[in-house]
């Protein structure tokens, strides 16, 4: 029995960088322990990736750097075009759409309204020359909010929700701490009430206690708003706290997928066993 309530479905997604050669597939992949073909230099970042996100769930993607998880995230964010495959997105009560078929303009409009992203480094997600309020307001302005007072009110509301001091709405990002900037990114990502939130190594580089606060905030948002999240992390502890299901990537392939506690306590693939044993 299955529950048909998915929001995002990635089907046979491929992405490579390089010229390719007939030996690529034989020489790359998790069994060979590399994603770069030694003969032609092609990097196979994502090979036949299939994932499904249920509405309201948090899905974790773990893997070391170079496993293809960030490439996958960039493709779902529509910032990178896959070589082949489909990214289906389904709003409640609407037919599914293949996001791969959108042109650049449609992709941007879609991204602005449906997808929020939080990066590891705040300067990637924020404009450091704009005020905190301006950064959060950008999403609202893109969604054609044209009333300054209402934009301020919504921005303030988002700051309260993300535990930021609303009186600092006009301050520069440079005056905020790392943990606060992550919360500014989250506030910005949530501004347009997206259906999907992408989290790219968001707590790496934060102190443990600051990290905990950001994770707690995300959990609350997930419970309260039922927002679907895709969480990319190399930190199994972070994934355990947030994601109910997890996929494990290595050398561009998904090597294992399952319930997060099962992945951590009963890993099946040799690589996952290695990952878990070296983390705990």
């Amino acid at each position: 029995m299955t529950l048909e309530n998915w929001l995002l479905r990635v089907e046979r997604l491929h992405k490579h960088f390089g010229p390719t050669c007939p030996d690529c597939h034989r020489l790359t992949g998790p069994d060979n322990g590399r994603s770069r073909c030694p003969r032609c230099g092609t990097v196979w970042a994502c090979v036949d990736v299939n994932i499904q996100l249920e509405a309201g769930e948090v899905l974790g993607i773990v893997g070391e750097s170079g496993s293809g998880k960030s490439t996958l995230l960039q493709m779902i964010y529509l910032a990178l075009r896959p070589d082949s495959g489909h990214i289906w997105y389904r709003d409640e009560g609407e037919p599914a759409r293949d996001l791969v078929s959108l042109n650049r303009y449609e992709a941007r409009v879609f991204r602005n309204s449906r997808i929020g992203i939080v990066y590891q480094r705040p300067e990637l997600g924020l404009n450091m020359r704009f005020s905190i309020g301006g950064n959060v307001a950008e999403k609202l302005l893109l969604a054609e909010w044209r009333h300054f007072g209402r934009i301020r009110a919504r921005t303030t509301e988002l700051m309260v929700k993300t535990e930021l001091p609303p009186e600092r709405i006009d301050d520069e990002p440079a005056t905020f701490s790392g943990g606060m900037l992550q919360r500014v990114q989250i506030a910005k990502a949530l501004a347009s009430r997206p259906g999907l939130l992408l989290l790219d190594e968001i707590t790496s580089g934060l102190d443990v206690s600051v990290q905990a606060r950001v994770l707690d905030l995300l959990r609350r948002i997930q419970w309260e708003d039922r927002i679907t999240m895709l969480l990319v992390s190399h930190d199994l502890g972070v994934v355990r706290q947030l994601a109910r299901r997890t996929i494990v990537m290595k050398n561009g392939h998904i090597v294992e997928a399952g319930l997060t506690d099962q992945i951590l306590e009963d890993p099946q693939h040799p690589y996952t066993q290695l990952l878990v044993s070296s983390a705990l």
Binding site: M1, T2, A212, W223, G258, Q262, E265, D266, L274
Partner: protein, 230 residues
């Protein structure tokens, strides 16, 4: 008898790829059943696979073979071994609870929020969930000045009360308790036994595992000594 869970020929093996692909099989061909409102205590020496049985039922472990039939309110009679991950997640949210030996929480999250988490997950609104949570904290004998503090700062007994209460608060139909009374002081033990009795009275089936019969032995309806697989 109103059978809620039926475990048939359950076997669980682990293949340890990091140790030359060695296989170990802590659970071999195990069968038993539990009825609504019944408390089954599985006991046996530590490290013998009792916990593995619970984890197979909860699907933290992937059973190697066998069936685990559960009579679900939402999905009817289903085999937990074969069920879709999303079905398992639904069951965990609404019907099957698991209580581990240790409380694992995020720092800075208040005891009240930790306790209420299963209710938040069910999308119960915050105020209602917290009202229920406060009742529980009172019953557990946790001083109100601690409710907003993180359980990390609590004593072992207090932490364990929160941990166990968290499994009960969502009122699951099947509760899996892993060594719930290990390292508990006498007072806390009595609190836990009272919780178990109250849940049973509401029709919750309970499977607990323990290496020690003195703890929950007196309150179990049935005891079963687990014989480790060869």
């Amino acid at each position: 008898m109103n059978t809620l869970l039926e475990v048939c020929n359950l076997t669980k093996s682990f293949t340890l790829h990091l140790i030359d692909g060695r296989t170990i099989t802590p659970v071999r061909d195990v069968s038993f059943s539990v009825s609504a409102g019944e408390h089954l205590l599985i006991h046996g020496r530590s490290g013998m696979g009792k916990t593995s049985i619970l984890k197979c039922i909860y699907r933290t472990y992937l059973p190697t073979s066998g069936s685990i039939w559960f009579v679900s309110r939402q999905f009817g009679r289903i085999d937990l071994n074969q069920a879709d991950e999303n079905v398992i997640l639904q069951l965990r949210e609404r019907e099957i609870g698991f209580c581990s030996q240790f409380l694992r929480v995020l720092p800075r999250v208040s005891a009240l929020d930790v306790l209420c988490e299963p209710l938040y997950r069910q999308q119960m609104d915050r105020a209602t969930a917290q009202a229920i949570g406060k009742e529980w904290l009172e019953r557990l004998g946790i001083a109100p000045e601690l409710w907003q503090a993180s359980p990390i700062t609590f004593s072992g007994g207090e932490q364990q009360r929160i941990n166990i209460a968290r499994a009960f608060i969502a009122r699951p139909r099947l509760l899996l308790l892993d060594e719930p009374t290990a390292s508990l002081d006498e007072a806390t033990k009595q609190v836990v036994i009272a919780m178990i009795r109250a849940a049973q009275a509401e029709g919750t089936a309970i499977i607990s595992v323990s290496h020690d019969l003195s703890g929950l032995g007196p309150c179990a309806d049935r005891q079963w000594t687990f014989q480790p697989a060869r």
